[in-house]
């Protein structure tokens, strides 16, 4: 699992330490990955900077997108249990 946002490395480090995260948090400060996946929310942050639309994208060993969930509202998040079901399915394929 890889997390990704437009955060600066210092902010991401603080978040990782505070929450004891054991996965990589990619710092897409240039928004290149966010843009490449079509997930740019222009002026979405409180300070009006561009950030990512919250989304889960599952990629198989061949690099194909096999499943995704893109939030339609700021509060909208998929249930982690549903994500785990998809991840287990992709591992068995």
């Amino acid at each position: 699992m890889l997390a990704i946002a437009a955060d600066a490395p210092s902010d991401a480090r603080r978040m990782v330490e505070r929450n004891n995260l054991n996965f990589s948090v990619i710092c897409d400060t240039e928004r290149e990955v966010i843009r490449a996946f079509g997930l740019l929310h222009k002026g979405g942050a409180l300070d009006d900077s561009d950030i990512a639309i919250p989304a889960h994208v599952l990629i198989d060993r061949q690099g194909r997108i096999v499943w995704k969930y893109i939030s339609s509202r700021i509060q909208d998040r998929i249930d982690p249990d549903d994500v785990l079901i998809r991840v287990r399915e992709s591992r068995n394929e």
């Binding site: 990782v16 690099g63 893109i70 509202r73 998040r77 994500v83």
Partner: protein, 136 residues
Amino acid sequence: MDKPPDEVHATGSVVAGLGLMFAGPLAYALLIDNPAMRSSGAVAVGIMAAGGVLTLSALWRDRRTAVRILGAFNLALLAAFVYAFYIGASLPAPSAAVTVETAPDFTVADHTGTPISLREAHARGPVLLVFYRGHW
């Protein structure tokens, strides 16, 4: 026999309605770790809708100005919450790129400065890429 409208007092209903308008968002904050509640806001809106019904019944029975003002305030809170939650918080639709079948490759540093290559990562096994809005 029914009292004429100007003698009926429904202060309790309209004040209870106000309480429910605040109880709704409070319940939302308390239940935010539940994904379904966080996404739908069902509990908050349900509580506030009950407040709306109480308020409307008070406005119907009690025609005094103070009750009308507080009732209008209650309904404005309900409308503001529903608007902010369902319309104000809308996110833009993703652009076409995410509909592609093959994930665009990238190599970008993570929080420790280590370069992360998507191609190398998915070669080791399926990758769940989680885009989030930012730290807080």
